[in-house]
């Protein structure tokens, strides 16, 4: 194979690799996907109002519409959507939370602050 043909083929492989990476990044294979209104063996889902926030301890307590308050603890992997840090949430703010219950605590997997339309 001529050097120029080899170089062209290498560029093609590189392009294919990049396209494949972009495609996979947009699919649930790479990203954690949590479904709304669904609890399963991997996580539990709760929607409610923020009852209290403790940014220092990384704790968030939610009052669901029906049921008891749930406190979750954030870790470095907790995913935020609609906000960037816990301090941004306010008491009475509506949130959706996916969490994984452990022996003595609930690990927050994802916290979503729904869009506010002002309506």
């Amino acid at each position: 194979m001529k050097p120029s043909a080899y170089s062209g083929l290498r560029h093609l492989y590189l392009l294919l690799f990049m396209l494949l990476s972009l495609f996979l990044a947009q699919t649930p294979i790479f990203a954690e996907e949590y479904q709304e209104d669904v609890s399963n063996k991997d996580y539990l889902y709760v929607k409610g109002l923020v009852r209290s926030i403790s940014p220092e301890q990384g704790l968030l307590t939610i009052t669901p519409r029906d049921g008891h308050n749930i406190t979750v603890i954030l870790d470095s992997k907790t995913e935020f959507k609609g906000f960037f840090k816990l301090e941004e949430l306010k008491i009475r703010q509506s949130v959706k939370v996916w969490y994984r219950p452990e022996k003595d605590r609930n690990i927050a997997l994802k916290i979503l602050k729904p869009m506010e339309l002002g309506c």
Binding site: L49, R51, T63, R92, S94, L117, G118, C119
Partner: protein, 165 residues
């Protein structure tokens, strides 16, 4: 106590209360109300923080009373949307436990508002966004299809638009 002393005490008391704002009679809206015999207003209530909400509702009452005192006939429409919606409900499903007393206070306010002739309207879209069952709103509240349409409609009818947020 001598009569002179009594007069001095009354004068001093009047001065003190006037300076504290307790004696509001010296303030008026004469210029604004010149030639006005009746007023129509739409209050856009969009406050989700309960203490502030109650303060705003109280201010609406004060406005109503002052207009009446000025000899006018107020016609008020209270449009409810946003976070305020949660407090105009018949139960505590949509609020925090710490806010129960505020919801009850709002309920009392609505009851008194009926006596004043207020029309209360809840935006159905706001209720839907906040997932409040329409059947859970206080019975004195009328559900309207779209609060924005109400605002536009009432303003077109000559209602003053008063933002409460």
């Amino acid at each position: 106590m001598s009569k002179i002393l009594q007069v001095v005490v009354v004068i001093l008391l009047t001065l003190v209360t006037a300076q504290n704002g307790l004696c509001d009679e010296r303030y008026a809206n004469d210029e604004a109300l010149t030639g006005v015999h009746s007023v129509k207003a739409y209050f856009d209530v969009n406050v989700g923080e309960p203490e502030k909400l109650l303060a705003c509702l109280d201010l609406i009452d004060t406005t109503f009373t002052q207009l009446q005192t000025a000899g006018l006939t107020p016609n008020f429409v209270i449009g409810i949307r946003g976070g305020a919606s949660n407090f105009f409900t018949i139960n505590d499903r949509y609020i925090l436990d710490i806010d129960r007393k505020y919801r009850e206070a709002v309920e009392n306010w609505v009851r008194k508002g009926r006596d004043r002739g207020y029309s209360l309207e809840q935006c159905r879209i706001a209720a839907k966004l906040q997932e409040i069952d329409l059947g859970d709103f206080l019975p004195l509240i009328e559900i309207v299809a779209n609060g924005y349409v109400s605002m536009i409609g009432y303003q077109s009818q000559g209602y003053a638009f008063v933002p409460v947020d």
